[in-house]
Amino acid sequence: MFSDFLIRARALFRHKAVERELNDELRFHFEQQVEKFVQSGIPSQEARRRARLMFGATEEIKEECREARGVLFLENLLQDLRYGLRTIRKSPGFTTVVVLTLALGIGVNTALFTIVHGVLLSPLPFPHPERLVSLWERNVVGETAYNVVSGGVFADWQRQATSFQQMALIGENSANLSGDGGPLPESIGTRQCSYNLFSMLGVQPLYGRLFTEQDDRMGAAATVILTHALWKRRYAGDPAIVAKTILLDAKPYTVIGVLPAWFDYPDTRAQLWQTVNHEVSAQDMHNRGNHRFFVTARLKDGVSVAQAYSALDGIQQRNHRQFPDELMGKGANVLPLSDNLVRRVKASLYLLTGAVACVLLIACLNVANLFVARGTTRRKEFAVRAALGGSRWRIIREQLAESLLLTFLGGCLGALLAWTAIRWLVALRAALPRANSIHIDQSALLFTVAITTLSGFFAGLLPALAATRSELLGPLKENARSVAGARNRARLRKILLTAEVALTVVLLIGGGLMLKSFTQLRSVNMGCATENVLTLSFTLPDAKYPTPTQKAQFFDELLRRMRAIPGVSKAAIVSELPGNGHLFDNTFTIEGRPPLLPGQFQDAVVRGADPGYFTTINIPLLRGRYFNDRDKLENSNAMVITPSMANRFFPNEDPLGKVLKIDWEGAPRFQIVGIVGEVLSNLDQPAEATMYLPLNSGRFENGSVAVRSTRDVTLLALPIQKQIASIDPDLAVTDVLTMEQIIGKSTANAMFDAFLVLLFAALALILAAVGLYGLLSYLVTQRTNEIGIRMAMGAPCRGVMGAMLLDGLRPAVIGLVLGLFGGAVCAQLIRSLLFGVHPVEWTIFAGVSLLVLLIAMCACAYPAWRAARVDPMVALRYE
């Protein structure tokens, strides 16, 4: 074993010495043989001849000895690599193009793999993550697969379901965090959980302790657990924060623990945890109709997700029949927790994966194409080598070594590119779940190496096989005047180019659809003014503003002060701004109508608006009146509705003057006094039935300010914040945004996806154009001779140019047609990501076709023009 290694190593590193020894050894043998012949009386000349005959081909023996020493393969490989390096150095232009192309393809693939791996493929960081599921109600109102769960339904499940070891509840909220002296008040995302959540997930605290059953009761001492991020940021990572008191919405809470850094469940917006039963009234916890919680559970051993689903669904169906007049799901849904977290990004990630795979494939095709082009210029060399006994395998290997070298250079560069790209992607793709688990790790590196090798083989093997395939002597006999051979060789390039164009077209169509979808989304009419509108939000803590009068005083005072700021032309306050989501809705009954059947509900979005709100952001009055200053406090029984509300609930009558009872405590009555224009809660969804109530009814603690100005409205942000601080220094202000930014935020991901796919498509287009140009230039060079003859025979310039152009355009056109079909198929696959665009949108298909044809024409134009300018005499002599 050891001797084997020594001999191989010696042969490898002391190559020359070993070769000399082999020479000496064989020469010695030869001379002994000659001597033997001479001794037997043969003249020395003849003796040498006989000995040489006996000996046979010395080189062959040497080669076999080398092989016997087991170094041939390695040695050849080294030689191939050295040769490859030399060719790479000799053609820096070719090298740069190939390496950059591949770096790009490999880089984006590695980046996306890393993200997909972190987000979609890697298990959740909890013990036995496969046993964790999330539970949902379904079909609460209409057909909804994943509806949040009400406290009452959760209590039912906890009593009746047997498939789960444990179930835990999570509520979402936000709170003003202040106190502890120093830092400014801020609004943070809070989560309320049942005490068993952390132990169920299997989390240990970094400091302090987790919740116990005693903490999770109404009236227990108020406790919170901090996430690592909040603890680091606001409390400078000081462990002494445990057991200290902080103020949440002006109420004191004791910090009992800090969570570990890796824990970012369910997302990074959750910054602080409270116990749910301490925060939510017992009445709400047993209400079956108030849907607000996320439920996570751990399956019992041996119970599958499907079994748990059918059991839970059965329970919920039974309960629904038992309580038909409760607004609750007609069934339940169970989803593995890992799927649940990424439900919303899956489609978009798969789309991007498809796009980057296309980019890599195109890059490989292009590189293969370049190699084919190079292979053709070396055909005679290959033929000579084959004729002298060089093996075909050796020539193929030489080419492979070169392409592998180039791809590995590309791979290294690509890994660097990926490293940058990932940071960029994660930063820009807002709200990517599980962003913490995205990092370049072993599997990502392995993936890079794998695709690099694969690309190297793909790009190198095909051209190498093609270049060495042909009959041995053909190229030797060939001279510049033969045309048939050149055509044959161009065929592979044409096929490669056709595939490249087809893939490019698919990418362009995908990108085009995404872009169109995005512009549709952006151009959606919100139903209100969006230009130069400044907004900011706050929540009045109940502890500090317990009565309706106090809330109304704050709102009135803020409005008065804002309107006094120089530059403010209009200012208003609404509970929730358009474009920020559905948020709050309520059920109601209409007076004078027969009672609803059990299990039937009427509900609509609820907003509180001050009298100036509608005119401030240009929501038109369609009928009746807006609110006025008398609609406040105990006198606030006016209601303004939208046309969709009128159409849905008063299809054949006049809604004005009708009285609605909202299902709140005391069943307050509201009379419809006006109808105003629609605004959208979500850009990608139709307008919802909405009822506006007076902001100063005392029922609203959320406030969003909308301010307009004739000057740049963003300059007003600071003066307004100062006014808020002077009224209530503990009140945190959030989301200081212009209306356009709000829209931008809700379309950011659509824009991001569209932008990336289009970027890839543009790259693909450039690569394809370069490929076409190269192909046609090559064809023209090959056929210069033929063209010369034609022109000498009187063929018109234009005819020659046309013929050449057609030759180059054919692969482009075939690729285009294939690509259009492929694009139509892909468009169906990404349909769920499109908004307001038909998957086979003919304008996009036509636009892409035109663009590709145009680019192909441009790429082919110059070589064709050159062909037409060929001087026949020069062409005929061309060798």
Partner: protein
């Protein structure tokens, strides 16, 4: 390519080389001459097989090589058996005996 002897069956060349070297270190030429003589000129080893075989045996560690002076005082590459080679020779010898006996038995018996 004169007196073409018997073709050597696969693998027997290694055995013959090892056996020859068991008599003492020797160079390639002498090995082929000795096999020729001992076999009463029935076996003629071609250089094309001899040298690859020597290099293969060396790589396996059964023989080792050193440069020395030949009888006529020229530099020659001498091969000699290693301990592992000696063991290998014994093993191959007994195997060969078994094989030839078995083959002979089959041939006689038939």
């Amino acid at each position: 390519m004169t007196d073409q002897g018997i073709d050597l069956p696969q693998g027997t060349l290694d055995l013959l080389i090892l056996r020859t070297l068991a008599l003492g270190p020797n160079h390639g030429w002498a090995i082929s001459e000795r096999i020729h003589q001992i076999s009463s000129k029935a076996l003629q080893v071609q250089q094309g097989s001899l040298y690859p075989a020597l290099h293969r045996l060396e790589r396996r560690g059964w023989i080792k090589a050193r440069w020395g002076a030949s009888d006529n005082n020229r530099r020659a590459k001498y091969y000699e058996l290693t301990t592992a080679g000696r063991k290998q020779l014994e093993a191959e010898k007994s195997q060969w005996k078994k094989l030839s006996a078995a083959v002979a038995q089959v041939l006689e018996g038939a």
